[in-house]
Symmetry: C2
Subunit: 650 residues, 2 copies
């Protein structure tokens, strides 16, 4: 059974003339035991909510996953797909891509992400179990990872958090082959991984990964542990290849025709490429038959459950029916009250409304709870003795926060949001990109979003981050100007099921700028005319977030000088870019344009055009009280007025 | 002596009404012993090459550093500066900023960076020692860090690497106060830090951080260890404050006037705010007197050393006199040979020239040596038994690679470069930003720079990364088109002492596109007309890197159709943006413009203008052979020709 994985892996890589045969060949014995006796998934229903989750964290070994899925009988993972490994349009992408083929639980490749997603999966399982009990929710999360995953920093964050939360249904199998791309891992590491995991509260053992009985025993014991378990499986990379086994040369390149022939011989595998003996296939398929029975038992319990409808609604993560009406009423309330609040505080107030309305939302922050205002009344901390909590103290671990949120969103049952300072999006870029690539509803609450944070200085002041995030495909970046736009941004973020959202929020207080009727969520078009010019527009001021106030003040000053200025608020340029040309033209107008944003101008030329002006940052910030910084860097209504006069020749 | 630190910290934070008093107050006892008997620095010569390096990794405790520097007698750290803590123009920024005041070895604040810089410092010391011996190079690196630094993933990368390299002159003091911003650290971590460090080959102990004798003993033993040492100092945050000691409330806010009065009383500190008893000051200054003697001894050895000139040249990291001539000759050679090479291979060939010319360069990669081609002939691996090596196997640790390179560059004596795939700049953004903020000569070799990498698919294909890096202030991003531009980019990167450089390099082969005279380094202006139109320009094609070939092919096809197209190669848009308007206008011309780059178009509007076109990516990539991907995403000369015809109305 294991040799079937080896043969498919080496043949597919050879046919593609590209890929990584060494890992699937080395880990085939472990994977066979794992899927034969432990991972309960049913190819007939890949989205069975109580299936075990399997994560291939070292995603370059994708052929292991594809081979196993073919052998288990996933309908879309045909031999033809394996023959077209890494080709255009095939389901067998170079690395496993979520959504490309059935049963792929998460996109992996960037190392360390998978094991951290797995922490999210395992946590989601415990949290959903706390809500619905063992009858409906009782599954394990298995992750395979390599040396690379365990060298990456994010692995520390994942391990530390999982150990703290005692996620005992998380089992990590470490492909301990002693080889990385450059050669022996002893070139760059001396860490005792077993000791390291134990230090973070894990159960950890080291076994021979080619001894099926040892693998079975370790997995059986892991399932009984009251801690998460790491099993270091000592393996030989490229196992079976006479010349390349144990060498980094089998890692990321085809073995070559002659070596494949020699490997077939050494393994006693007589079938031709992509041909599988019937007996082997039937043994693999028997696994799925057994798992289908397990699923049928669960379906019975599910059908009989008095909480079936509630459970199904949770798993679908559908918003409550009265969501839109509640948000509209809340906008109306804000419009009456006209609060002057930092948008981070407006976000908290909005969350009070949302979190009272639905239990799907799971909050958290990277140890900045009372700066980013992500906790609301009655939310208790998720801890090992309180999986029923709704607030995750992620610790000072931004990268893990993002990757765990990806896992929570992928698992189903929850809508995760998490907060830190905008500047620390730097620390979680790797996982944020995967939120976007996978199209997950993960909401990033990123506060202290400009030099407006003041004294903490340039290390804490985001300058290029809005550009970096706006440049990222399939990610909505909102920078709301006031409490109403903040509520609108939250509403859109929650409704957007196929994209992550960033909320870029101010530390400093901002007045309510939205005037007039608030029945409509105007942020839905990304940008809109907040204040039309009186008479023909002489100039259009476009601003976001805290700088909308600056634009409004400038427009008022310009009016006094007889210059008709319109003010456009642009809470989400990503969405605005997706509007039709007519709407964009209507908003932008034909008069000269000035953009105001306390960030780098990179990317703004699209909106201001050849003759426009940008008022914002041109380098890093400084440490001082915020009002002085706005003066120092010239982001003032006076500067806008001066630019408008210059542009309009008055 | 310790209470002087406490008083200055609480008074400065109170005066600023902003800052972090808890850490300096809790760690004052540790810091006093550390500076009194261990850290050998001389305020009279803050850049003494053989000084010990001190890094405050938990940079929010900046008042500890400023207080100590004032007490030791650094000439610029006056009482007046302390009174203007966190104010505009003061040297006492919210977080320690490299270059703002004497003796600040590195910029800290983003957690985990400092301890990783410290690994770079400690490694630089051993490497410089291997070259020049104990007489000239024999110093320690001390770092203080907090819970946050040790929760961040980068700490794992740093610890793993330092343990592996047996950097026994690195001593980390962990402020083990059990408090983070959200409250007790037990909210989010259960890791046994001593066991964790031991698992990675460190010497590690836990002591009472308020027991001076224990601190002294631990530091004395650490200096004798053959491993790096971590001393967990159990402290009480906000020590001395009757109401706030031991609470997160003392972490990031002023204590308040009444509490400061109560704290003074509790500590028996009777002086007014910013007033220091003469006896205390003289005891602190005595430390500097003692250290000045130590430096004088070193100066004697230095003066007497037969290798003095060589050492001074190394420390100044000045390029050899024949650098420019060698690079010019190399360009000439390439011009003769017209190689067709991937720019990652061209980079390797250039490095062969550079690394033979100077020993200042220290190579490395994050376990992708034979993909990014960063090693050259004769470079041996830096290991615990070979500090004389010139190539660092950073392991699968991009973030640490970048932060260690920052440390190597800050230490002096070396010009570090390190390689990984461009997409994994995501993993090291935090440290890359600090390279830029500090203005360090660190060179990032980032290959596989587009969908041109092919089969590895979207997780490995950078799309938004060029935009993200170009948006970063004070960072030069080069994307050379051929071997000659690659050599030019390396030349400029090495010459640029006040800015980091990114070299964005192709996986796929590219022809030599530079024609004619190569005496001048044309990349020095960022962009230039590579091929002028015959006759009046009908259209200008602007491209970078691998797409310059596409532009040239399109220009040739357009010529056949009677459309005169100029081709601009833009290896570095950051530098081009800094040229005068006349030069930029000359290059860009007045004809319609089309930009071609296999990346997101974000940021290109500046160069193509209102009526321009962008041919590139509009979302994530896919897994397939590279030529098929270029077709799929429409980045072809045919697409350029079609756009040019549309623009010119032909």
């Amino acid at each position: 059974m294991a040799n079937a994985i080896r043969a498919l892996a080496m043949d597919a890589v050879q046919t593609a003339n590209s890929g990584h045969p060494g890992m699937p060949m080395g880990l085939a014995d472990v994977a066979t035991v794992l899927f034969e006796d432990f991972v309960h998934v049913d190819p007939a229903d890949p989205s069975w909510p109580d299936r075990d989750r399997f994560v291939l964290s070292n995603g370059h070994g994708s052929m292991l996953l594809y081979a196993v899925h073919h052998l288990l009988g996933y309908s879309d993972m045909t031999l033809d797909q394996l023959k077209h490994f890494r080709q255009l349009g095939a389901k067998t992408a170079g690395h496993p891509e979520y959504g490309h083929a059935l049963g792929i639980e998460t996109t992996t490749g960037p190392l360390g992400q998978g094991i951290t997603n797995a922490v999210g999966f395992a946590l989601a399982e415990r949290m959903l179990n706390a809500r619905f009990g063992d009858d409906l929710v009782d599954h394990y999360t298995y992750a395979i990872c390599g040396d690379g995953c365990l060298m990456e920093g994010i692995s520390h964050e994942a391990i530390d958090l999982a150990g703290h939360l005692k996620l005992n249904k998380l089992i990590v199998l470490f492909d301990d082959n002693g080889i990385s791309i450059d050669g022996k891992t002893s070139l760059s590491t001396s860490t005792d991984q077993v000791a390291r995991f134990k230090a973070s509260g894990w159960n950890a053992v080291s076994i021979d990964g080619h001894d099926a009985a040892a693998v079975r025993k370790a997995l059986t014991e892991a399932k009984r542990s009251d801690k998460p378990t790491m099993i270091a499986c000592r393996t030989i990379i490229g196992y079976g290849s006479p010349k390349l086994a144990g060498s980094e040369k089998s890692h990321g390149a085809p073995l070559g025709g002659d070596e494949i022939t020699a490997t077939r011989k050494a393994l006693g595998w007589t079938s031709e490429a992509f041909v599988l003996p019937d007996e082997v296939v039937s043994r693999w398929r028997a696994i799925s038959t057994k798992n289908a029975e397990r699923r049928a038992e669960w379906e019975k319990r599910h059908d009989a459950s008095p909480r079936r409808a509630e459970f199904d609604a949770a798993v679908s993560t559908a918003l409550p029916a009265d969501f839109a009406a509640t948000m509209a009423a809340y906008r109306e309330k804000l419009s009456q009250e006209q609060p002057k609040l930092a948008t981070r505080k407006s976000s908290e107030a909005t969350l009070e409304v949302i979190n009272a309305l639905t239990e799907l939302t799971i909050g958290g922050s990277a140890d900045l709870t009372h700066s980013v205002f992500t906790v609301t009344k009655g939310m208790t901390s998720v801890q090992a003795d309180n999986y029923g909590g709704r607030y995750i103290h992620y610790g000072i671990r931004e990268h893990a926060m993002a990757a765990v949120m990806n896992g929570l969103a992928l698992h189903g049952g929850f809508i995760p949001y998490g907060g830190t300072f905008l500047v620390f999006s730097d620390y979680m870029r790797g996982a944020m990109r995967l939120s976007a690539l996978m199209g997950l509803r993960v909401i990033y609450v990123l506060t202290h979003d400009s030099i407006g944070l003041g004294e903490d200085g340039p290390t804490h002041q985001p300058i290029e981050h809005l550009a970096m995030l706006r440049a990222t495909p399939n990610l909505n970046v909102f920078r709301p100007a006031d409490a109403i736009e903040t509520a609108e941004a939250w509403e859109i973020a929650l409704e957007t099921t196929n994209r992550p959202t960033v909320l870029s929020l101010s530390r400093q207080n901002l007045p309510t700028v939205r005037a007039g009727d608030v029945a409509e969520n105007r942020s839905r078009k990304g940008a809109y005319v907040l204040r039309e010019a009186q008479g023909e527009r002489a100039v259009t001021l476009i601003a976001t977030g805290s700088e909308v106030e600056v634009a409004l003040n400038a427009a008022e000053a310009l009016k006094a000088e007889g210059i008709a200025a319109a003010v456009v608020s642009a809470p989400c340029l990503d969405i605005f870019a997706e509007q039709d040309a007519a709407y964009r033209q209507q908003v932008l107008g034909t008069a000269p344009r000035i953009a105001i944003e306390a960030a780098i101008g990179f990317g703004w030329d699209r909106w201001i055009g050849d003759n426009g002006r940008f008022i914002g940052m041109h380098g890093f910030g400084a440490s001082a009280p915020a009002p002085q910084l706005y003066e120092k860097f010239g982001i003032t209504s006076q500067a806008v007025v001066a630019a408008a006069k210059e542009l309009t020749g008055r």
